[in-house]
Symmetry: C2
């Protein structure tokens, strides 16, 4: 059943056992899903305060501003949060490719049966 976290107007993120929520970024103009990553409370606060996407790097164990080395920052136009407050949706303007492979989006391959194919 829906509860106050589900429908109220209090920001109350539901962090998992590792202190993380999931964040998905889409392109403000095209709507394309660019990337998916994780945030701890510090990353969410830094994103809200700066207007640029920050994440928690699970592999490196540290706060990470997207584009801090590449310059390919994600300017955040809007942040949505889902019903159970364990995921956020960032609507962004990307300064460059979002993916470390150089692709515009990390989701550049389509699943076709048991194989992959280029998405475009």
């Amino acid at each position: 059943m829906p509860d106050s976290r589900d429908t109220g107007l209090v920001l109350d993120p539901h962090y998992d056992a590792a202190g993380l929520i999931t964040a998905v970024a889409t392109d403000r103009v095209s709507g394309e899903v660019l990337m998916l990553a994780h945030m701890n409370a510090e990353a969410l606060a830094a994103t809200i305060a700066s207007g640029e996407a920050h994440f928690w790097s699970r592999s490196r164990g540290r706060l990470w501003k997207k584009g801090e080395s590449s310059g390919h920052v994600l300017r955040v136009a809007d942040i949505r949060i889902d019903c159970d407050q364990d995921a956020v949706w960032l609507i962004v303007d990307a300064a460059g490719p979002a993916c470390h492979t150089g692709e515009r989006s990390c989701f550049f391959r389509r699943i076709e049966g048991k194989k992959l194919a280029p998405a475009e």
Copy 2:
């Protein structure tokens, strides 16, 4: 550095310690992010085979076809996978509200500073 999982055309999902990957569903027409959930290998296989979104319910500990009780299934037009193969993007046509609250999208609230506001 990119490796073969990142750039190749072999479907090789990178399941986490709980056997899950993240799945984000967007509306095929509007591009709106509808919901975010998790899949195990069985849910991914069922989604690919049936063309309807299946997830793994962490709270109920079982395979779950979205809309199995409500009828609000998500017909999958396209499935993308991200560079490190730990997340999939489902491009869907929704038969009804995606959210258990009755909202079209689970992301119906905007974060404004330390508070939430209706997104529309």
